[in-house]
Symmetry: C2
Subunit: 81 residues, 2 copies
């Protein structure tokens, strides 16, 4: 059993209105010096087996097919255990 | 200028219907051996200054006040540079 975390973030240049709204809210709450806020997604998964290379291949396929929109998003895969 | 990443995840025991839906979709796409899918959020921010301790305090306040719902969510803060 392995644990994996997939982090999906918007590519540079892709507009992020949600991030901009959060940045505006932080500023109106009095947090100064905050900028370039971007929101992304994180997926935590448990995977059967202990073959890390096979898990990484499967996770890459999951990202390409479902977890990320690779036109506008990047993904990063971390595997533990 | 420092960069920070805040990761917000659901606490253990909090139901995650979105994660369950993703898990179901992965299985119907043919990915077997996947379980315990949980979805969370990630925020990337840029912060003025170079005082890491002050930045961590500010980020903790941002999480408590806006970025996380601490009733049902945990948050983790990473600072780089």
């Amino acid at each position: 059993m392995m644990k994996a975390r997939v982090t999906v973030t918007l590519k540079n240049g892709v507009l992020d209105p949600q991030g901009q709204a959060i940045e505006g809210s932080l500023k109106s709450l009095g947090f100064s010096g905050v900028g370039a806020v971007r929101q992304g997604k994180v997926f935590d998964l448990a995977l059967d087996g202990s073959d890390e290379a096979a898990a990484r291949t499967a996770l890459t396929n999951m990202c390409e097919k479902l977890l990320a929109n690779t036109v506008i998003e990047n993904y990063a895969i971390e595997i533990s255990n």
